[in-house]
């Protein structure tokens, strides 16, 4: 982790110049703060504040059911490790409209910054390759972010982008934490009100 130089707060705006065109799901804690800051807690972003591990399969259900839309999951290393089997499920389904972005800070930021497995010996990009994701890219330096944005736009899906970031806070953004309100907001935006 010592080579990670990316400030997570600068990552998503560079990866997603037009986030409103994409259906997004973000996992609990930092990933959801960053995604909410990116979109202004946007209508086609579903953020989570619990159910650790649910972001990837929730995004997969969306991608399989909305094949004409691009779907992106924003998650963290701790959340992804909670449900690694979902990577195999994604690989088998092989949706052509699906990307996973894992912000890997090597720690459990929300609970005090305790070190996680990726600070030790675990490499989530190699796990994603082994699971069978079509395209996998790992970056750790600011100069690589432009290539990562191109990867998300052009590589064969399903895509897995691992971004090793330096320790530090996520975006300071207060999002709506009511899952029922967020569900209705998303459905109304996607399906059309009424």
């Amino acid at each position: 982790m010592t080579d990670a130089e990316i400030d997570r707060r600068e990552l998503l705006p560079a990866l997603f110049p037009a986030p409103g065109d994409i259906l997004m799901v973000s996992g609990l804690a930092g990933a959801s703060r960053d995604a909410a800051a990116l979109t202004g807690d946007g209508d086609t972003l579903f953020t989570m504040a619990g159910t650790m591990g649910a972001a990837v399969p929730l995004g997969l259900g969306m991608a399989l059911s909305a094949p004409a839309s691009q779907v992106a999951v924003i998650t963290g290393d701790g959340e992804l490790l909670m449900d690694l089997g979902a990577l195999a499920t994604v690989a088998t389904q092989a949706p052509e409209n699906f990307s996973i972005i894992c912000i890997d800070n090597g720690r459990h930021g929300e609970t005090g910054g305790q070190l996680g497995h990726t600070s030790h010996r675990t490499d989530l990009a190699r796990i994603a390759e082994g699971a069978g994701l079509a395209s996998v890219l790992a970056i750790s330096r600011p100069g690589e972010i432009a290539a990562a944005a191109k990867f998300l736009a052009e590589a064969t899906a399903p895509r897995f982008l691992l971004v090793r970031v330096k320790a530090g806070p996520p975006a300071a953004y207060q999002r709506d934490l009511d899952p029922a309100a967020c569900r209705l907001r998303f459905r109304n935006a996607y399906l059309g009100a009424g």
Binding site: L23, V25, F46, M48, G50, T51, M52, G53, A54, A55, V56, P57, L58, G59, L60, G61, M62, A63, L64, S65, A66, S69, D83, L84, G85, A86, A88, T89, T92, Q93, P179, A180, C182, R183, L184, F186, R187, Y190, L191
Partner: protein, 173 residues
């Protein structure tokens, strides 16, 4: 229960689910749901989604709902033990959810490993706010399926269609 019986009820159940608009069939393989998943594989518009763990299926069903689609999660009863935390998404978010749970450890079970989780199915469903629609006799299947579909997709509840071993028959060891 003979293979012919299993083919017959699986076909009736599949027909009801398709009629109700269900298209994604998330599942962990079980002898009890095997025929249902074969029917989904053979159907033009249905899509089976093989899971590594049952909890993924809860989130997949919620994701489908966010874009206006209907999904179902099929599992053996032991898999319900993998789901409670993800079920908070359903209760807290007001998501519709339909589980099809094929029971072990409830009637005629010969494997002692199956009893603890089999007997915990109803308490876990109740604790997480998922309604239970139990099928013990062949004539229960159609009305219980209708009721579970109504609860999930009309009323926005979590609902479980629980196919008991009295209905399915117990596996011999």
């Amino acid at each position: 229960m003979t293979d012919d019986d299993k083919d017959a009820w699986s076909a009736r159940l599949f027909e009801q689910l398709i009629e109700a608009g269900v298209r994604l069939f998330a599942y962990v393989p079980d002898a009890g749901n095997a025929r249902l998943i074969e029917l989904a594989e053979a159907h033009n518009e249905a899509r089976p989604v093989l899971l590594a763990s049952e909890q993924e299926g809860v989130a997949i069903c919620a994701g489908a709902d966010l874009v206006g689609a209907r999904a179902v999660l099929c599992m053996q009863s032991s898999g319900l033990g993998n789901c409670p935390n993800f079920l908070s998404l359903i209760k807290g978010g007001g998501f519709p959810l339909l589980l099809i749970v094929t029971m072990r450890g409830d009637y005629g079970e010969q494997n002692p490993w199956q009893y603890p989780m089999g007997q915990a199915v109803e308490p876990i469903l109740a604790a997480m706010g998922v309604l239970s629609f139990r099928v013990a006799r062949p004539e229960d299947l159609e009305p219980a399926t209708s009721a579970a579909l109504a609860a999930a997709f009309r009323a926005g509840q979590g609902a479980a269609l629980v196919l008991s071993q009295k209905f399915l028959g117990a596996k011999a060891f």
